[in-house]
């Protein structure tokens, strides 16, 4: 690990008072201060959604949600890790949807709560990637799955929106459904299909 030349800041993480160089992320600060941290650590690059934290900054009453690997520490910050994301409570098999004409009806059978969105904005407020989650749910409810899914390109499935939703909609799984049906039913690249046909007819071989 590198030597740090920057000045130290003090903050509280999971109730422990620590000081660490200001250029560190929350997770790096914990390790720097000698505290073990295993659970809730993942890719350390902001794409796995593992290190969800609640954070309150000095002088503010507002509690925000962030990813601890991306959150740089700050004087007087108070941070709490949220371990164990919830498992999804909706179950579906792609193969049970027989054609693209059925997708909308199936969606409402599977995600029965989605239509009850009360536009409380909780999902949008918690999203560490600033996705317009609520808009995505609204589009999916209308059957505009491709458009809904497009909003979630940066979603890392941290499940914070699922935790925040008072109607148990599981917006991130609504988004995954939207993205998956878009590919499963509508992606039919002709260059791929041509290649598969050629292979099927034995037209392409590899000599070692």
């Amino acid at each position: 690990m590198n030597e740090y030349s920057d000045s130290l800041v003090t903050l509280r993480i999971n109730g422990k008072d620590i000081s660490a160089p200001e250029s560190l992320s929350v997770i790096q600060a914990l390790w720097y201060a000698g505290y073990p941290r295993v659970k809730g650590v993942g890719c350390l690059q902001g794409v796995c959604g593992s290190c969800r934290v609640l954070v309150r900054r000095a002088g503010s009453k507002q509690v925000a949600t962030e990813l601890a690997c991306e959150l740089l520490i700050d004087e007087g910050m108070d941070v709490h890790f949220l371990n164990y994301p919830i498992a999804p409570h909706h179950k579906y098999q792609m193969d049970d949807i027989h054609s693209s004409w059925e997708v909308q009806a199936k969606f409402h059978e599977i995600f029965t709560e989605a239509v009850h969105c009360r536009h409380c904005n909780g999902c949008n407020a918690t999203c560490p990637k600033n996705i317009d989650v609520q808009k995505g749910v609204e589009l999916a409810v209308k059957g505009r799955f491709s458009e809904a899914g497009e909003l979630f390109v940066e979603c890392v499935m941290c499940n914070l929106c699922q935790t925040a939703c008072p109607e148990s909609i599981a917006p991130n799984h609504v988004a995954m459904f939207s993205r998956r049906v878009t590919a499963h039913f509508h992606a039919r690249p002709s260059n791929l299909i041509n290649r598969l046909e050629k292979l099927r007819k034995g037209g392409l071989q590899v000599s070692e």
Binding site: V38, G42, A87, P189
Partner: protein
């Protein structure tokens, strides 16, 4: 110490210029790899003393864990709860999920154990894409030839040939699971060219290809009959009286206890070793990538291969320091991005194979043409503003992850170049397997980065995402088939092989002080976490 230009001064000398021809001085000498690649650092290797690869060269740090003592012995298992399944998959990345899905669809009862959460893996961090020859000017033969050449010829030809022939169907399978790819206006797959390849062949979804793949596979597994054991790293394999693999010992980080899972077939898909920080390099790898699967398989007698060769990805972030090692996709160079030294000159064809480009960057730094990252480490420029000048808008449309990384660094990559240095990225070798992912130990399959032979001494961009799905699917089907004939009854299943390991270690005069598998990198201080005392032999001995 070698000279290097201070970061601020280098930045003030930098000007974005659209056209920068490659100077003739960038001709490479014959020996660039031998002179500058970390695989050739003198004394980096030792010969293994015990196990099926005794006498073979192996990186020192890897040798230490391969020849470590087990974390457990028979006594730890006395009161451990037991479960049974047909196929046990260890590892919850792309390879593990593909194997679990296919084994389950083939009718087997499947359990998937993962160290952290399902999807915590290197797969989720892969950016550039996945190789498959689908364009009309491309063929599987060209894909194979490129793979063989990049590997310096030292790969298992049968495995590589099978993988390139699988590739188009792997893409079809992924689309069927619900994975999106970048398509052109007619709905055809768009491809990028990988460094060291003769045709554009890397299919992708922005620079989030791995994230898109992983979240789709994770969702598919959650919605399947696969039983998931998360926060359950495997600490040992189980063996029967014939020495065949018969399950694993899991250590639950939720319940702080060991559990036995007896299985008719085991698939290890635990990934690589980046977090061992070989040769003190930073890494692009996931927190859990510390070589657990290699240790487990080796102890049970599985033959390994190519343990002296690793991939250093040319473009790891070098500045700011707290993000050192973070990956920047090769896609930037595929799109036409240049590398510049402190004199603002190109010094290599940016689309040479990864090992050559990494060696060239290290050469620039060692010969005083690098830029100081602030703490004595050194790097060169990835000229993103030049790319943006040539292709306005490309960074925002094609590389959202890079823009996001820029925000975290306080750098707009469209305006300012990024300082990069090679980062430890991939384990080229691993467990020797056949076309179905079977190791030399009956009942034990290994797929993905933990397996070796597919990529020789240097892997092409996009061949890893292909590898994990191609071999993951095959191993899943093969393990399910094996489990149909097998029975767990009347067999003595235990950790008998550990007695042999300890005998070998003592006879060879090796220390019993190192415990393996490591499970986590040392800076996570797992060994000091009092929560997990129950999962540690050392704590018991001390108490």
């Amino acid at each position: 110490m070698t000279r290097k230009l201070p970061h601020k001064e280098a930045l003030s000398r930098y000007r974005p210029v659209a056209d920068r021809p490659l100077p003739p001085s960038a001709e490479l000498g014959e020996d660039i790899l031998r002179t500058y690649h970390p695989d050739y650092i003198p004394d980096r290797c030792v010969n293994l003393t015990i196990g099926p690869n005794a006498g073979d060269p192996c990186h020192r740090q890897l040798a230490e864990i391969l020849q470590s003592d087990a974390r457990i012995d028979e006594a730890d298992l006395a009161a451990a709860p037991e479960e049974e399944t047909d196929v046990l998959v260890i590892g919850g990345g792309g390879a593990g999920c593909a194997a679990a899905l296919e084994a389950s669809r083939a009718g087997a009862r499947v359990m998937l154990a993962t160290k952290l959460r399902l999807g915590d893996s290197n797969t989720v961090m892969a950016e550039g894409g996945i190789q498959a020859s689908v364009d009309k000017d491309d063929t599987p033969q060209m894909h194979y030839d490129d793979t063989l050449k990049a590997a310096h010829g030292q790969l298992d030809r049968g495995l590589a040939a099978q993988m390139v022939m699988d590739a188009p169907d792997v893409i079809r399978w992924l689309i069927q699971q619900g994975m999106q790819f970048d398509l052109d206006q007619y709905g055809d797959l768009i491809s990028r060219r990988a460094g060291g390849s003769t045709a554009p062949r890397v299919l992708h979804f922005r620079d989030y290809t791995g994230l898109e793949m992983m979240r789709v596979l994770r969702e598919a597994v959650f919605n399947s009959d696969v039983e998931i054991r998360d926060y359950c790293p495997a600490v040992e394999l189980l063996s029967d009286q014939c020495g065949h693999c018969a399950g694993a010992v899991l250590s639950s980080l939720r319940h702080y206890q060991y559990g036995l899972v007896k299985a008719k077939a085991v698939i290890i898909a635990t990934g690589g070793i980046g977090r061992l920080h070989l040769n003190s390099f930073p890494t692009s790898n996931h927190f859990g990538a510390v070589g657990d699967g290699l240790v487990l398989a080796y102890r049970l007698g599985a033959k390994l291969r190519d343990l002296d060769t690793f991939q250093y990805h040319p473009s790891g972030l070098a500045y700011p320091l707290h993000l050192a090692g973070t990956l920047i996709t090769e896609g930037i160079r595929s799109a036409g991005g240049y590398l510049l030294n402190a004199a603002n000159e190109r010094f290599i064809d940016e689309l040479k194979p990864r090992d050559t480009v990494a060696a060239a960057i290290i050469r620039e730094c060692l010969e005083g043409r690098g830029i100081d990252a602030g703490d004595g480490t050194c790097g060169v420029w990835l000229d993103t503003p030049g790319l943006e000048l040539r292709q306005p808008g490309i960074i925002e449309s094609d590389f959202p992850k890079l823009l996001h990384l820029g925000t975290k660094c306080g750098i707009d990559p469209r305006q300012q170049p990024l300082l990069i240095h090679p980062t430890l990225h991939y384990q080229n070798g691993g467990v020797a397997i056949n076309g179905e992912g079977a190791s030399t130990v009956p009942g034990l399959y290994c797929v993905g980065e933990v397996a070796g032979g597919v990529h020789g001494r240097n892997r092409l961009m996009g061949n890893s995402l292909l590898d994990i799905i191609s071999f993951g699917r095959r191993a899943g089907v093969a393990a399910a088939k094996r489990s149909r004939g097998a029975t767990l009854r009347q067999k003595k299943i235990a950790v008998e092989h550990l007695s042999a390991l300890r005998r070998e270690l003592m006879l060879a005069d090796m220390p019993l002080s190192h415990k393996g598998p490591l499970l986590f990198p040392d800076y996570a201080k797992f060994e000091k976490d009092s929560d997990y005392d129950g999962l540690r032999q050392s704590a018991r001995a001390a108490g």
